[in-house]
């Protein structure tokens, strides 16, 4: 069963992998967000709300504590997703910056599918490796 389908049926399945993205106001921020959505739709993990962490929403903080692997996707070196999670006291298992994958930052929000897929594939591979190590 894919992760995003589970949301509508039951919340009692453990959230092994929890994915956050910065969703920043640039092309790379939006690529980060779309990559997080793709990973969730592909059943790689659950997509959680970073704003809820920043806002200290108790339900989201406690739900995140129940996760086993936290993934942060940032668009650029500002690192908002990583910093927000760390500020709330979470240890990040895997972090990626979209700009580190050769995608240049700009403010054109017409993002491209190949860029989204590149980020999602990179993370899927990293997560698989981590799962293999455990």
């Amino acid at each position: 069963m894919k992760g995003w389908e589970m949301t509508e049926k039951c919340l009692c399945e453990p959230n092994e992998v929890i994915i956050f993205s910065c969703a920043g106001s640039s092309n790379v921020g939006q690529i980060a967000n779309q990559a997080a959505i793709k990973l969730a739709q592909d059943g790689v993990g659950r997509y959680f709300c970073l704003a809820g962490i920043g806002g200290h929403v108790s339900g989201m903080i406690e739900s995140t504590k129940a996760g086993k692997m936290l993934i942060a996707i940032d668009g650029c070196s500002v690192g908002s997703a990583k910093k927000t999670l760390e500020h709330a006291g979470f240890n990040i298992s895997e972090h990626v910056q979209v700009t580190d994958l050769g995608i240049e930052k700009n403010h054109n929000l017409n993002i491209l599918s190949p860029d989204i897929n590149k980020v999602a594939q990179h993370l899927e591979s990293q997560i698989s490796q981590r799962r293999g190590l455990r």
Partner: protein
Amino acid sequence: MKIEVLGMGCTNCNKLYQNAVEAVKLSGKEIEVTKVEDIKKIMSYGVLSTPALVIDGLVKVAGKVPKVEDIKEWIK
């Protein structure tokens, strides 16, 4: 004080409800413990993992079953 147990009726949700009722009993206080099984209401708390325990509107724990002693401490 109000305690809500969020969950859609799985084994862990029922266990958390029992633990909450037991903690209230041991505390000697008169506190209402209610089950919330509607997923829309559960999600309105921002909870993405159940079971979850809510005390006076604040989510104390999600995605696991706290011990009776822990709950008792929270409702002191």
